[in-house]
Amino acid sequence: MAMPKHARDGWLLSIPALILLAFGAAGPLLIVFIYAFLEPGDFSGVVWNFTTEAWFRVFFERDIFDGTVSMADAHLTIFWRSVKLSLLTTLITFLIGFPMAWFIATQPPNRRPAWLFLITIPFWTNLLIRTFAILEVLRNQGLLNSFLLWLGVIDQPLQILYTDNAVLIGMAYVYLPLMVLPLFAAIDRFDFRLIEASYDLYASRWQVLRRIILPITRPGIVAGSILVFVPSLGAYVTPRILGGGKNMMVGNFIELQFGQGRNWPLGAALSMLLLVIVLVALLAYVRVTSGSERRDA
């Protein structure tokens, strides 16, 4: 017996967790991976013949009549839009969320739970209902347009609904709590005396923010950004309702392949690609944010 008893017991005890991981996480992922290399069935499902056709179709398209191959521009557009909207969502939630989190963290401790509760209320509400509420605000005869018309800022209703902007507004609203909570946790741990110390050492307000506050709360910023960016990239309900049928994001496009498109392997290949993009983004994030401090004024 090479292993000490407690180590062996520890390994045995983790078996239920390993089984759960294998069936719950690794298994489905493996199925998606395998499907991406199979032929589509006539109506749905897959035919068990190995082919890389699905991967080919992710990036290229063949003309139905003469078989000429060209780049699958539509797919790239959808991926690009997804990445762009997700990055913008992350940026917007950060710009709104940081002052919010700062405000809550600087409240007297007995008032903080109330503020945090208010922030998380949307969480306890069904996503569909929240999204329809946003739709109600944004539509041509909705709250926003009525208000702007009443103010006299505009004389025609703005077409916001069914545009990328509507999707952006919706996603920023839905994912804001995911940004605020980790930011709050980071700012709550922040030693506010450091602000006084940096003023004392001739820093301006802007330098205090950039050189002291942002670097020290960075773990919260990274966590919040990941928590917003990743689900934004795979968002399905929000772009479907607020973006209409035209402004698809990857999530909608994948759903299309498993539904009307009846091309499960293509859907699976797109899913794998989405996963790769997320992983690359995460790695890039980790690399950028764990980089050493450089001296720049």
């Binding site: 030693d191 450091l194 110390a197 004392d200 001739y202 820093a203 050189r211 020290i216 401090e293």
Partner: protein
């Protein structure tokens, strides 16, 4: 030492709240701190010493009055435009920056050229003997090391005045003694005006050129350590700085009649009426012809000296501190009746506060 003024407070007051509920953290204090001196603000917590320091640093604005730096009114100048740096009680080192970058911070903010910053950081690291630690993060340093970095960081921009807010209070006794000497050495070497805040009277006595004793937002006495210790202006100062025995009595014709009925000649004393006398424990001798009778209740051995708790005829208690003889035995028996006398010139007549 020149008599030029480094920092001046003119009737500086800081109130918290308004109206009748206002708390006067600082009550119209005027003080003048000379260039190049080690000045200590000493007092119990809540006496306003830290508030005064924060007014000089610029973290707070006085409710009324003025703060001058080298004769210039800086009352409404923000802290980042004052050539004043602070060593904080909590050190407030930047946790994400290395020791060297912490020290460089002030110079970087002043926009100094990189070459100059590098040289100055090296110089500061050498000054506080932390060259080996330059690339460490503050979390990897001991309390004493963090203290040194905080000092180096505040000294690096060569401020006109360095403010130190109870910087030694978090250190253990031995390290604190070491740092006291170190601080004094740094102050002498750099020639920068130090304004040091503490509640520890021993710290104040050992390091300062001058001490300002504060209580309840007021400055009670300013003077050199010897003046403060040997000639306290009132009972509070006498009691706060070191240990003191207080005796009440009636002064008349150059002698004081104590509550015990005994008389103590004080040829230099003028005036008459009720007075409080202050006598330091180490200034009391056992003398067969001493004017006061006392019963020895208890002796406590402290190594260098022995504390004798004595009961006077009226029941009041005083402490005499006798230097321990080489054997360690004073030869005194508890319960013994002794005659004691204060050393010539050691009796202070105090104003009541």
């Amino acid at each position: 030492m020149t008599q030029e003024t480094a920092v001046e407070a003119i009737a500086a007051a800081r109130h918290y709240g308004t109206g009748s509920t206002a708390v006067k953290a600082l009550d119209e204090v005027s003080i003048s701190i000379r260039k190049g001196e080690f000045f200590t603000l000493l007092g119990p917590s809540g006496c306003g010493k830290t508030t005064l320091l924060r007014l000089i640093a610029g973290f707070e604005t006085p409710t009324s009055g003025q703060i001058l730096l080298s004769g210039k009114d800086i009352t409404h100048i923000p802290p980042n435009e004052r050539r004043v740096n602070t060593v904080f009680q909590s050190y407030a080192l930047f946790p994400h920056l290395t020791v060297a970058r912490n020290i460089a911070f002030g110079l970087e903010m002043l926009g100094r050229p990189n070459a100059e910053i590098d040289n100055r950081v090296k110089e500061m690291l050498a000054l506080v003997q932390m060259e080996q630690m330059a690339e460490r993060k503050p979390a990897m340093l001991s309390g004493g090391q963090q203290q040194r970095v905080a000092l180096a960081r505040a000294l690096a921009p060569a401020p006109e005045v360095l403010l130190l807010d109870e910087p030694l209070s978090a250190l253990d006794l031995k390290l604190r003694k070491e740092m006291q000497l170190e601080l004094k050495r740094l102050q002498t070497k750099t020639g920068i005006t130090f304004v040091f805040v503490t509640h520890d009277q021993e710290e104040a006595l050992t390091m300062s050129d001058r001490i300002g004793v504060m209580k309840s937002g007021k400055l009670l006495q300013v003077g050199g350590p010897r003046d403060i210790y040997n000639a306290p202006v009132n009972r509070f100062v006498a009691d706060f700085i070191g240990e003191t025995n207080f005796l009440k009595g009636q002064l008349a014709n150059g002698q004081v009649t104590l509550a015990t009925g005994e008389t103590l000649p004080l040829p230099d004393a003028t005036g008459s009426g009720e007075v409080t006398l202050a006598i330091r424990p180490e200034q009391i001798r056992i003398a067969p012809d001493g004017p006061i009778t006392a019963k020895l209740k208890q002796t406590v051995y402290f190594g260098t000296d022995t504390h004798c708790h004595l009961a006077l005829a009226d029941g009041s208690e005083i402490v005499a501190r006798l230097q321990s003889p080489p054997s360690g035995e004073t030869g005194l028996q508890e319960g013994e009746t002794l005659r004691i006398a204060p050393v010539q010139g050691a009796v202070q007549i105090l104003q009541e506060d």
